[in-house]
Each structure stands twice: as structure tokens, then as C-alpha cells.
Symmetry: none
Subunit: 237 residues, 2 copies
DNA sequence: GGCTAACATTTGTCTAGTTGTATAGTTGAA
DNA sequence: TTCAACTATACAACTAGACAAATGTTAGCC
């Protein structure tokens, strides 16, 4: 006899359910207690199955909330013209952003250098979450020179994208001057926002964007959920 | 592995924000709902963090109004002239001390060496608690040469500060010769006195103070509640 | 101006549900 | 015996939603 463990057959059954479309991406699976009743096994056995699926990136569990079907990875091109909303819309996914924090404060040394300011000059700091089809994809921090863009905070709050907010403040166009990419592990709060597990791989990019005159307008730091995004460089554009 | 709970890391993040001056003393923190969005957790989890901070006296909440910063960690300059009462008064906080124990006994080897005595010579030992605005900030042990300062015990009991007690015994001035700083974790009794949790970080300093002639007058050991104090070295003075 | 009433905001509390983890026990097979 | 798979139970940590209570704000009225 083959003797496949019970938990493995449960994992297969659930995986099949997802493939059949019984549970959509982003949807919540029934709670473990309910699943264990359905399969007639102990809760731990279901957990074993779910753990396997989580490791394969098929589902993701949030303590207290439930187990959710993970989304498919998206290609995210990085070139001269990086526009989160356009990038995703091109793939037929619905982009969205969620403002986590918005403040104006003095620039740090690193930030001032990137924006061509003096340390201590005022900057707008935007902390936000970028979503694709309602699923968090990236944590983004963007820093703008406050003196040049005094009304940006309001615009960021109201507009649906950073590009639109910059346009409302008179920056009709801007291009990416430089992007640096490194790999990190998710901290606890990053993991919570991105709905991944602590210690999961993260792509961290830091970037400088300039307007057509070559004046820096944005210093950005973005943390992508490594499982959900594939950064692509080069190609067209 | 004992992973740190999410609420604890949130408490640390907020405490740090306060220490960094992002929220001034007396200022209102963002409402719980906003904080829970910023950290990506449920409001209850933020409340757990705020409860911890409130217990430590860092913030206090008023129903219907908000959560306010009660006190930011005090800066405690360490230089030639370390005076607990003056240090705190300069920051607009009310210092106080509470005597835990007062005794005269024979000096140990380490203590004798620091004070330039022979082991077994009599020393006064002061054990006390230092408070800022009624909040315990540090546990202090001070050891004085008994033969040189025979009446110190009584003075320590009556005067409000060690500086005053020394003055009453004829030591008009004294300066810090040396201070050593290490990090420790709070023991149960330390935690109890400082009203922090067991295992919380503690700054331990050992110091030698001398009178204008260069004769050692005090050998001190102090345990600061790490959350409530930031030791600063150098600068003015 | 000064007062009140209505409303929105914000913290406090409660109940219920869900996943994470730890411990101990049972069963079946090599 | 020993080991792996599974069961059983309990508790901790976090989520979710609802409502109460206190506060701050604003509009309207005298």
C-alpha cells in the first residue's frame, strides 16, 4: 500500500478546491475547526496540511483572522518610468493604495543627500501600502522636498496614486534616476502589513526620481513581498 | 524561541517615537484606529501596547479625548558633575529620593579599592530609589568612607539629595572621576522597585567621585530603568 | 456673547471567533 | 522497543464587531 499520510491527502483536496475555483484568491478558507470536522480528523492534522500549503505559498494564515488564499505573483517592471498603478493595470489587476502615515518633518542625512537638500530641511514623508486586487503587494515610503511641494500632503491623501498627486502639485512628469535592489527578511510589522510571515523574503528597493530638469522630487524606499512580485529590469521602455 | 508579541514591538516603536521627539511631551498621539492602521493590526493589539506604556507612565489616555504623552525618557547627562536632582530639575521634572536602606559596615575588597581604603574599613552604605515626577527612575547604591564622614547617615536620612547630605558633612564639592556603563536585564527585585517588568533592559553604572583634593568620597552603583532614561555623555559641562 | 442641543470623535468594555503553541496521550507498524 | 502519525486538551495571541461613556466641536437660539 502507498500509505500517504492523511494530512497530505487533505492538502491535496484543499489545493484542488482552490484550483477548481471553490475558494477565490484572497478569500478566507473555513476555520481550522470547521475543516477538521469536514475531513473527520483532529485540528492538528488539518494544520499540518495547511502548513504544507503555506510553505508552497498557496495560502497564508493570519492569527485571529483566518487562512487566506494567496495571490499569484505579478511582474513589476523597473525602468526609467516606474508607475505602480500603470504597471499593475497593464497586467489586468486593480491597483490601490492605502495611506498608513503622512507627516512633515526634518530630513535625515541620507534623505537630504538623495534629494539634494540640507539635513534638517522639511520633507513630506508618505508611508503607504500598495495593493493589487485588494492584496497587499508592497510597503512604500516616499520622501518629497516640502518647500518645493507645499501642498503635496493633501494631494496624497486625496489622489489615488502618487503620480496623480505629484501632477496636482505641478510635477507633470518625472523619471527614475536610480534604483537599488537588495533582499531582506520581513520584520514583524512589515509581515503584518504585507500579510506574509515574519522572516519571509522581501525585496527592498531605494530609488531617486527627478523631474525633467533633473531636480530630485522623490526619494523612495519600497519593500515588496518577495512571493508576490517579480521585479523585471530592461526590456522595452 | 520566545518570539516577541506584536503588541510589544508596537509599544517599543511608539516609545521610540516619543524618545525621538516625534511626539512632544503633552502632545496627543494619533487615535487608536489610526495607529492600528499604521501598524497593520487590530485596534485591540494597539490598546495592549498603549496599556503597557500607560503602566510605565509614558502615556495616559482620556476617554473621548485621546492618548497623551505623559513624559518622554529623560536625558541624563553624565560628565564631571553628576547631580541627580539638578539633572532632572533642569528638564522641568520633580526629583525625589526614597531611602531603602542605610547601614555602616566593613568595606569589601572592590569597594575599598575604589575608595582608597583598606578592606574591612568602615563604610556607610546607602541604598535608595530615585524618582522623577513620582516615577521610579533609578536604583542607587552609594558607598562612603565612614571615618571621613562620621555623621553622613543622619544627613542622608534628612536631606533631600546626596549632594546636600555631603555638603552638610563638609564636602562642599565633588566631581565624577570615572563612570562605567553596562547593560543588564532587570532582576525580580530591581523590577519591583523600578516598577518595570522582570527582564526589562537596565543601564548599570558604577562610578567613583572625588573631592577637590582628589580624595575619593563616593563609590556609586546605579541601575537606571532603560525605558525611562537616556544617558548622555559629553556635550557641555 | 453665552447657552444649549446635536453630532462626531475617541477611548473603555464586552463577547465571540480564529490561529499559534505547548503538553501529553494513543495507535500502528518497522 | 522505538518511531512517526494522529488525537486530545488547554491556553496564549490576535482579530472582529458592537456598544457604552466621555469628550470636543459646531450650529442655532436667546
Amino acid at each position: 500500500m502507498a500509505r500517504t499520510p492523511v494530512w497530505k491527502s487533505i492538502a491535496i483536496a484543499l489545493t484542488d478546491d482552490i484550483a477548481q475555483g471553490r475558494y477565490e484568491t484572497g478569500a478566507k478558507l473555513p476555520p481550522e475547526a470547521q475543516l477538521s470536522a469536514r475531513f473527520g480528523v483532529n485540528r492538528h492534522t488539518v494544520r499540518r496540511a495547511l502548513a504544507e500549503m503555506a510553505e508552497q505559498g498557496l495560502v497564508h494564515a493570519r492569527r485571529g483572522a483566518g487562512v487566506f488564499v494567496a495571490a499569484k505573483p505579478a511582474d513589476y517592471p523597473i525602468g526609467k518610468r516606474v508607475r505602480f498603478h500603470q504597471n499593475l493595470a497593464r497586467e489586468g489587476r486593480t491597483p490601490a493604495k492605502q495611506v498608513l502615515m503622512l507627516e512633515t518633518r526634518a530630513a535625515g542625512v541620507r534623505e537630504a543627500e538623495a534629494l539634494g537638500l540640507a539635513p534638517g530641511d522639511p520633507v513630506h514623508v508618505y508611508d503607504g501600502l500598495s495593493l493589487a486586487d485588494g492584496q497587499p503587494v508592497a510597503l512604500a515610503q516616499a520622501i518629497f522636498p516640502a518647500e518645493r511641494l507645499p501642498d503635496l500632503c493633501g494631494a496624497l491623501r486625496e489622489e489615488t496614486s502618487i503620480t496623480a498627486a505629484l501632477k496636482a502639485c505641478g510635477v507633470a512628469d518625472y523619471t527614475r534616476l536610480e534604483t537599488r535592489i537588495t533582499a531582506k527578511l520581513a520584520t514583524a510589522t512589515q509581515a503584518l502589513h504585507l500579510r506574509i510571515s515574519e522572516g519571509a523574503p522581501i525585496l527592498r528597493t531605494t530609488s531617486i526620481s527627478v523631474d525633467p530638469d533633473g531636480t530630485p522630487v522623490e526619494f523612495g524606499r519600497t519593500w515588496f513581498a518577495g512571493d508576490r512580485v517579480t521585479l523585471t529590469v530592461g526590456g522595452e521602455d
